[in-house]
Structures are given as structure tokens and as C-alpha cells.
Amino acid sequence: MPAVLEFQDIIKDYRALFRRRTVRALDHFTLQVEEGEIFGFLGPNGAGKTTAIHLAMGFVRPTKGRGLMFGKRFGHAATRCRVGFLAENVALYHRSAENLVRFYGALNGLHGETLSRRTAEALDTVSLLHESNRNVAKFSRGMLQRIGLAQAIVHDPDLLILDEPTSALDPLARYAVREMLLDWRRRGKTIFLSSHLLSEVELVCDRIAVLNLGRVVRLGRPSDLLESREHFEVIASGIPMDGFPGAEKQPDGRIRFLASAAAQRAMIERIWTMGGEIVSVSPHKRSLEDLFLELTGSPGSERGSTQEAS
């Protein structure tokens, strides 16, 4: 599959005018997003997710390294015709929903009948067609996020870059967006999704990258990332609980415990020696939250690599 989005060894430093302090947002950041996949982009606050997205959109320039979008350098205006973007904090002009979506569609080269049709379709997709004449200044936060999504999809882009697209949505709207993303993937579109909603990412994404301190610390398919090769889950029957540390009794009377890969064989032999029966031995599957916490450190801590400039 060709890469739709490529970050090639990018460093991004922020330095305020007249100040010595430099903040490194991305540190030798390398990543490829392939055509037709939903790519989940995870990381704690300050990990550099939004900076990476802003680089891809051409809003900020890399300090070192380079990036390509559809084979063109980041910031190439004509290429953005093929991209739909929704920012983390939706900020749009105050006018009717229809006029707003028309304005952004026209900026991407749509006009005439096509613009009218695509505007109505986009509003319908986000369930705001009945609110098309209402000024977006009067919209709730969830509605704003939906109108933001409408302006991102109005020109039928090949790549959707979404920064926290469902953070303000209720469960019903969140489900609708998830279905929309899956439908877009079926149509061969690529989606780059940054989100803190781990369950959502786990449900829809084909691949996930976890970012911490400006670096990719883990990359892969959710099933591969969540399956541990270091620990196995053993379920057995006909043995006492006390011989196995951390063992717990299941409602059906079976015993369940985790064994490290190194101790796995010894544990199985021990169960047999004790006259027990092994029901199953399978790789231990963690939740995405467990993996996230393992990779990014203690929960709730604010990150960001700060260096004093020399």
C-alpha cells in the first residue's frame, strides 16, 4: 500500500521570541499512514500529537526532517484539496450552518450545483440538515463538533485528519461518527484519527501509534499490541488455588492465573502432577488503557520535553 502520509525523522522545536527556553514537541518522529486504513494516534497531553497534525497540514514548519502528504511536501496547498481536517477546538465563523459549510467547500474549489449538493449531503451526514439555517454561534459544543466534521467532509476528501473528533459528542452521535468512519474506510478513504477515547480507537482502528515525549513508542495492529508475549493466561480445573500466586476462582469453579512465558512450562507440568486438567493456555490480552499507561507512565501526569537552549 502506498503511504498517504509520511513523517520522516522530524524534529519540531518551539522557541518563543526573545526567550531562551526551547520546547521540543517532536523528537525524530517517523511515521507512515497507508492508503485505506484508519490510523489511531494516541498519546498523553503534550506528547506532540497536535503538533504532528499541524505539521501535516502545513500550519507549522519542521525544525528538521520532512514530511510528505500524497507524495508532496507538507504545506503544498493544492494537495489539501484531497484532505479534510477537523481541529481539536473547533473555531468557525459565525453564520448559518449551510453558508458556513458552503464557504469552506468553495475554498476547496467546489462551486455551483456540486457545492449545493455536497453541502446538503455533508449536513445530512452529521444530522444537521434540519439546522442548516441556524447560526452556528447558537450551536452547542457537540453541534459545533458536528458542523466542524461537515466542513471537513464537504469536498469528499481522500484523507481525513481528525483531532479529537468525538470529544464533545453524546454516545449516540459518537456511534454515528464511528459508523461514518467505518463507511469511509469501506470506500477506500484513509483516516488519521487522534483521540483520547481509547475504547473508540480500539474499535475502529486498523493500526495504532502511541506517542510519548515526541516519539513513537509503540506502533502496530491493536490485536498485536494488546496480546502479550510475556504473559500467558492459564485456566485449569481440579487444582487448589493456593499453589498458584494471583490465582482466582471463576464462577464455574475453574482456576485462572497468569504465568510468565519463562514459567509457563513448569506451571503446566505442576498442574498435571497435581492431577489437574488444563482447560486453556492463551496469550494474555491487555486493555488498550493498560498498554497506554504502561507506555506513557503514571496516569494524569503532564508531559513535554523542555530543554534549555545552549
Binding site: F59, V60, Y93, A106, L107, G109
Partner: protein
């Protein structure tokens, strides 16, 4: 053609977003009309002074519009949704400058029509009145280009301060030495004709001053585009 369409859209959007200050300016011109209707011929000098004042307000507002246009968009983060579309930063900046020029043209048209209605019956030359409007538009566009240039990388206050210094310095040199300096950012030359105009001696600006102001506005726009293309627009300028 596609670029012109995008620039036009940004310009019209700018005017739409600034509609309230523009409306206040237009209403202040209508106030001049009301003053004219209530006065008699003996007050004509007072009306002319008010007319000149309003022209200078137009220039001041252009500096304000130019100096805050990018800042407001960046601070509100609305710039992200616009620059996330297939539009170059140069086109975006061109749209903003055209938007300020449109606002200045709207203001000058209103001022010109009001002047024609109020001042011409009192004896002011119709031809010179519209020549003065040309000077106002040129001064507005050039001042806005200077302010826009500084606002690409500075906040509105710093931008306004440096715009004042940049426009004032050649003005002081032109006042002292004249000649060549009359054509460098010629706000002084344009303003002098406007402020010295009277019923008896309306005066005109030297032939090349308005074209020089427009050429310098284009140079400033190119320089601003170059700088704007290099900076991070997603970062606040405070």
C-alpha cells in the same frame, strides 16, 4: 483565475467579519451629512475640517484592520479551518489586504458621495473632491500593507507602533528634505494634500505619488507573504 476567486472569497469574508466597525465608520460619514444639512454657508470651513478628520480616521482604521487581521484569526484559531483548505498563505494574505482595501474603498465612496452632496454645493470642486478620495484610498491601502507586514509576526500593539514609526520616519524626512523622500511610503505627501485642501486652493498630489504608494504596497505585500510563509500559524503571537 482560481487564485483570484479564493482571494476574493477571503476579502469578502474579511469585510463580513469586520462589518460592525465598517458600519460605524459609514455612520460617522452620515453624521457629516447631517451636520451639512443643519448648517449654513458660513460654517463651510467647519464642515471641510470634519470631512478631513473623517478621511484621517479612515487611514487610522485601515492600520487597525491591517494590524489585527491575522492576529484575530490566529488567536481565535479560525485560521486553521481556512488554511486547512486548498489555499496558499500568499493568497490568504492577499485576501486580507484586498479586504482592507475594499473596506477603505467603501468608506471613501461614502465619504466622496457625502462630500459631493454637502461640500460641492458650498463651492468645493467636484474634481478635486474625488481626487482627494483617491488619495485617501491610496493612503489606506499603503498603511494597511505596512500594518499587515508587521502583523505577520507581531501582536497588534507592536504592529501599530512599528507601523506608525515606519510611516512617520519617511514623512519627517520628506517634511525636512522633500524630493526623493516624498515618494517613500508617501503617507505624508498624500495626507498633506488632503489636509491642506481648501475651498479656494484644493491642491493636487504630485503625479507619481499615488502609483508609488501602490507599488510600495505591493512590495510590502510580497515581503509579508514571504515572512508569513515561514512562520508557524498555529502558535499564538503574544
Amino acid at each position: 483565475m482560481k487564485h483570484l476567486r479564493l482571494i476574493g472569497m477571503i476579502a469578502i469574508n474579511f469585510v463580513r467579519e469586520q462589518r460592525w466597525p465598517i458600519l460605524v465608520l459609514q455612520l460617522s460619514v452620515l453624521g457629516l451629512a447631517a451636520l451639512g444639512l443643519l448648517s449654513d454657508a458660513r460654517d463651510r470651513e467647519d464642515i471641510l475640517i470634519t470631512f478631513k478628520q473623517l478621511g484621517m480616521y479612515g487611514v487610522a482604521f485601515s492600520v487597525f484592520f491591517g494590524g489585527s487581521a491575522i492576529y484575530n484569526e490566529r488567536r481565535s484559531r479560525r485560521i486553521l479551518a481556512v488554511l486547512g483548505k486548498a489555499i496558499t498563505r500568499r493568497d490568504y494574505l492577499s485576501g486580507l489586504l484586498l479586504g482592507v482595501a475594499l473596506a477603505a474603498a467603501l468608506f471613501s465612496l461614502m465619504l466622496g458621495f457625502t462630500g459631493t452632496w454637502i461640500l460641492c454645493p458650498l463651492g468645493f470642486s467636484f474634481f478635486y473632491l474625488w481626487h482627494l478620495m483617491e488619495c485617501v484610498v491610496a493612503a489606506c491601502v499603503m498603511s494597511a500593507a505596512v500594518a499587515l507586514f508587521f502583523s505577520t509576526h507581531l501582536n497588534p500593539w507592536m504592529s501599530a507602533l512599528l507601523t506608525g514609526l515606519t510611516l512617520g520616519m519617511p514623512g519627517a524626512l520628506a517634511f525636512r528634505f522633500g524630493g526623493f523622500w516624498e515618494y517613500i511610503l508617501p503617507l505624508y505627501s498624500l495626507g498633506r494634500v488632503f489636509l491642506n485642501a481648501s475651498f479656494e486652493h484644493p491642491g493636487t498630489v504630485a503625479g507619481w505619488v499615488i502609483p508609488a504608494a501602490m507599488i510600495e504596497a505591493v512590495i510590502l505585500w510580497l515581503a509579508a507573504s514571504w515572512i508569513f510563509d515561514k512562520i508557524d500559524v498555529a502558535v499564538a503571537v503574544d
